[in-house]
Symmetry: C2
Subunit: 341 residues, 2 copies
DNA sequence: GTGAAAGCGCTAACAG
DNA sequence: CTGTTAGCGCTTTCAC
């Protein structure tokens, strides 16, 4: 005998009341005689009854599943993980649970996961876009499922959007290096098609330009190893930069490794975009433009939950400030006088 | 007009076939005339029909939701995040999705989340126990929902269990330090009630004992800051240890901070349990006993998915090896001759 | 091959 | 306050 899960009917029979009365008790309606309610509760307890959410949702007008989907680059990386955690906390305060998935910068995977979460009736989605276009959302998602974008803006679909002030942060970084006397500042950026790289690059360019310096950019870097290799080559050139501005934390770490290996970590300056754990314990400690992933997660979750609750205002763009954290590597002065041209 | 989601009935009407034929097509049954099937598929496309999973699951014999729950200490910490990622990959290969939640070492939260995931019909759970007893699972979880435990063993409930060889790793660490000449080796451990701390402490004790040394333990440390404070006090004592064995990565990091501050990082030896990002870039680089969270996640996911597929063998205990990674901090020799008593 | 009817576990609408 | 009836969207059973 397959121990069948008890149903409301079983409870009703056990308590000697009608099905509907059980339903009322389970749903916390107050229009039930306390004595009956008590009997029902006793029956629920002894049968170990649990309401079947799926069946309940099927009939209910208000079809919420109490679940939101979170699609980030990689649930395993520190930035995404911190964001995830903030989303979870914000959601939990409202009794909402989080389905999370990693995109790995793969547009196909983005679309697959969106579909999968839609099928599972997520009430809404928080998405860090991997692909260049989110137009597919209109077709793949029921019209009443809101999406909030984080980290990168979306194309082709309207939704609230939570972004770091990337360009402003990059400007800040470059100005900081200039203030410390640097004139040959190289930018090492991530994938060219990532919107964040674009913004950071734009910030770099405008700051370098404004100071009358010559830009020097390498982008399309995919990981820590690529960044390490590129940095090593960079310092083999006749007139290497005196300072590096790195566009992502993995790139920063690659650059740190390379500078170590070249024994240039005590003279080549470095400012990295994104903070990372233990940046303060390296020697020199790494100066960064810190984003605030937790704040981004909170803002995104709040925006999404409001939308789910029926907020219908125009999509907003929420921008989260970045902070320059001077720790040492960004305050090294150039060893060799830069000649500027 | 509320754009009602199209149902199978709508599709059937549009295609001029019966509801059941649509169901057959949607479920990939082969006993449908190709011409009809094509018409049905066309209708599905033009109406943008998606099957309602909840309704489908309700009637189906095989009530799978294709979702598993993952309950870890904190989705935001590197260990849990790496484990999460491995679970996700393993699950995704089977079309299964992952609901994740953080427990924060809180037993109540553990139970709440288990209930919540059970209500959402997770097909199974991977749980890193926070509380001392998992007996509640028998009542809170339907009998056919398997649980696989990771990181810590469970009490009061039978399930596969994926553990690191904690005690063996601790023995290894202590022997390593002894081999480098240390005789005053302190152990800094985490919460006393955590099973992992117990195992690591046990390993420490047995290795210290075997070498005829005097154990010196501080445990119950909750975080990086506590570890930092304790370490600082430790080195203010008349005869401080010459080596530290730290029982968790947060504790290791706290100890590193303290040693830095005291300027003892170049002479006091340190081996930490758990690897952590950038451990190799610190000065000195930190020697660790590395667990393999990804392998643990994979093993747990595989075990769970097998159980979900009906595997009914006795619960297994899967133990995952740890590795000593010598990087420098664990190979420092004692500065002051230890007198041993 | 195909379809009509029944019903999964629950809630909505309406009577009593 | 309580119960009855219908039906959510789908799969099952069993006729055709």
């Amino acid at each position: 005998m397959t121990h069948r899960r008890p149903t409301m009917n079983d409870v009703a029979r056990a308590a000697g009341v009608s099905l509907k009365t059980v339903s009322r008790v389970v749903n916390g309606e107050l229009t039930v005689d306390p004595a009956l309610a008590a009997r029902v509760r006793a029956a629920i307890g002894s049968l170990n009854y649990r309401r079947h959410l799926g069946a309940s949702m099927l009939r209910r007008k208000d079809r919420r599943t109490g679940t939101i989907g979170l699609l980030v680059e990689d649930v395993g990386n520190p930035f995404s993980a911190a964001l995830h955690r903030a989303v979870e906390d914000e959601a939990r305060a409202r009794g909402v649970h989080v389905l999370a998935g990693s995109l790995d910068e793969d547009p196909d995977r983005e679309r697959d996961l969106v579909r999968a979460f839609a099928r599972r009736h997520a009430d809404g989605l928080i998405l860090a876009p991997a692909g260049p276009d989110q137009g597919y959302l209109a077709a793949d998602l029921p019209p009443d499922v809101p999406v909030v974008f984080v980290q990168r803006p979306a194309t082709g679909f309207a939704g609230d959007c939570v972004l770091a002030r990337d360009a402003a942060g990059a400007v800040r970084a470059v100005r900081h290096l200039i203030a410390y006397g640097h004139r040959r500042i190289a930018f090492l950026g991530g994938r060219a098609d990532a919107a964040t790289t674009g913004e950071r690059r734009r910030g770099y360019l405008s700051a370098v330009d404004a100071a009358g310096l010559r830009p020097f950019m390498i982008d399309g870097l995919r990981g820590s190893q690529a960044a390490e290799a590129v940095t090593r080559n960079l310092f083999r050139r006749p007139r290497p930069p005196t300072a590096l501005f790195t566009g992502r934390n993995l790139i920063t770490i690659g650059a740190v490794r390379a500078l170590r290996l070249l024994d240039r970590h005590r003279d080549a300056a470095l400012v990295g975009f994104d903070d990372f754990p233990l940046a303060d314990l390296l020697e020199p400690a790494v100066t960064v433009i810190a984003q605030d992933p937790a704040e981004m997660g909170r803002a995104a979750a709040r925006a999404l939950l409001e939308r789910i609750d029926g907020e219908t205002a125009e999509p907003r763009e929420i921008s989260i400030a970045t902070t320059l954290i001077p720790r040492g590597s960004g305050e090294l002065r150039p060893q060799v006088r830069a000649t500027g041209s």
